[in-house]
Amino acid sequence: MMKVVFERPKSMFPVPTHYCPGCGHGIVHRLLAEVIDEFGIRERVIGVAPVGCSVFLYNYINCDMYEAAHGRAPAIATGCKRVYPDLMLFTYQGDGDLASIGTAEIIHAANRGENITVLFLNNAIYGMTGGQMAPTTILGQRTTTCPLGRSPKREGYPIRIAEMLATLEGATYIARVAVHNPRAIIAAKKALKKAFEVQINGLGFSLVEFLSPCPTGWGISPAEATKWVEENMIPTFPVGEFKVPKSEKLVK
């Protein structure tokens, strides 16, 4: 008899995704579904999908979900959570969504200590609209709207969301991880699990920032993109935990 050693998480619909080869979204979706399954919370988890490549998150994750306007997911999650404090709320947001148009919403949701979990996918570019400069585009990186490479004089600096939110008293758990190799992915899942556990225990706001490859937007191959995360993104956006709950009674 054959033993099943690998299968699709139960919270994932059995459909192929629309993402480009080498994109990190599929990995983060899967981690999310695995964590939902492992906590057994699919029937009481509510997701808020953003505007951007991952607007169709709801086509892949099988739980009740909202589709938000650009940047507004934390406000929608707040509204739902205040009605049903026992439901588990997560938002899934890209860098344009969270770090540009939605900065007010994310800062204040964190500062209120809303008991929600935010998955923040940082790929240093606007993917859906065709590769424009993001607030997280790194210095020197060429995009369709900074064709000469991002220069601090013209375009300012990449914004470090995890570090910034970690300064807020309302935030409970803030981590940055990457999904460009298996080792990083294992660490990423651990962080995501911690983030959900913070919410399950009612400890407050949690956010995990995922550094994620976008080969199409960056104009390089998937293999080169994983290298680019390592060599260019991580030096700008160091991985690690920036804020952990005061009482570290979390799973290992």
Binding site: N62, Y66, A75, G79, C80, Y84, L87
Partner: protein
């Protein structure tokens, strides 16, 4: 029941929402509606509800989106510049067909404008306001009592049509004190909120969205929304006809201006000029038919507004050339007086002979 309390319109709006079963309020401070959030910030916790002062009107309207999507009765209030900020969210709420109530205590504009009463957001409230083809159901109170009644009705109407309802008040209605009685309403049968996101337990998951990339699908969605607006026009038009039976000249006014017009009508009738008034209570759907009928009987209609002429466009659509439509408006927080209205009617009267 039957007890009257003397309170401001803003407080009456807040209390009426609580009596209608609203337990959630999300808002941001702006004059002249601050008494609504202030009142609800202590009132809602008393009844097990929740008040959140949001970081902006934009965040507030999306908190409304979240709470309405979870199936709760939810309110937000603001004043003109703040309502402009909410327009994006109102468009999304309309598209996603979520019931909620929005109060606009109108002040003068455009821009920061002023903080005194105005009716210059009529177009915004009745013609869509944000992007896309949609409408809110818009109710315009002319007394504090009516504001309370309409807020209570608004929650039922929102649930009935799965559509946002706006209370189009102005700074006078919000800040004026009048005796109010909160009348118990018999509960009416409303559709169940089986679309709400509450956790996908023992049912397929629910999804609240507004994106339809397939143009045929989006067209069908637009047509579905349109059918609701047609239904509203069929079932929900409210209008007060005041001394219209023997009227030779008609005034058309809503909200605060309508009550000023009533004083003018009294003076004019004492002078022997038979004037009546049609006061739209729903400004969307608009009582076009009332104006169509009445324009067969009078030659002249004077539209009075605290704007430079917004409702007049709907009056003209109803009248459709069957009567002369005149206009008098004051703006910027200036309010038409009954003397001014009397003078305008006398002008029309003189032109008739």
């Amino acid at each position: 029941m039957g007890e009257k309390v003397l309170i401001t319109g803003n407080e009456a709006i807040g209390e009426a929402a609580v009596r209608a079963g609203c337990r959630f309020f999300f808002g941001y401070p702006i004059t002249p509606q601050n008494k609504i959030p202030e009142y609800l910030s202590y009132r809602l916790p008393q009844v097990g509800g929740c008040f959140v002062q949001a970081e902006s009107e934009i965040a507030a309207i999306y908190m409304v989106f979240g709470a309405a999507g979870a199936g709760a009765r939810v309110l937000t209030s603001s004043s003109s510049p703040g309502i402009s900020l909410k327009q994006e969210g109102i468009s999304y709420i309309s598209a996603a067909e979520l019931p909620c109530v929005i109060v606009n205590v109108m002040r003068g504009g455009p821009g920061l404008g002023g903080i005194l009463p105005s009716q210059s957001d009529y177009f915004q409230a009745t013609k869509g306001g944000g992007h896309g083809d949609y409408h809110m159901l818009a109710l315009a109170p002319s007394t504090v009592q009516e504001a309370a009644n309409l807020v209570m009705d608004a929650f039922d109407l929102a649930d009935k049509y799965c559509n946002p309802v706006i209370i189009l008040a102005d700074g006078y209605i919000g800040q004026m004190m009048e005796p109010v009685e909160f009348k118990e309403k018999p509960p009416i049968e409303l559709p169940t909120k089986d679309w709400a996101v509450t956790g996908a337990k023992n049912r397929p998951r629910n999804l609240i969205k507004s994106l339809y990339l397939d143009p045929e699908e989006l067209e069908q969605h637009n047509l579905k929304l349109h059918r609701k607006y047609v239904e509203m026009a069929k079932n929900e038009v409210r209008v007060e006809a005041y001394l219209t039976d023997d009227a030779e000249i008609l005034i058309a006014a809503y909200g605060t201006v309508a009550r000023i017009a009533k004083t003018a009508i009294k003076i004019l009738r004492e002078k022997g000029i038979k004037v009546g008034m049609v006061r739209p209570i729903t400004v969307f759907p608009f009582p076009y038919e009332t104006f169509a009928e009445i324009s067969e009987k009078v030659d002249d209609i004077l539209v009075v507004e605290m704007s430079l002429g917004q409702m007049i466009e709907d009056v003209k659509l109803g009248v459709c050339g069957r009567a002369k439509v005149h206009f008098y408006g004051r703006v910027g927080g200036m309010v038409p007086t009954y003397d001014e209205i009397v003078r305008e009617i006398e002008k029309i009267k003189r032109s008739q002979v």
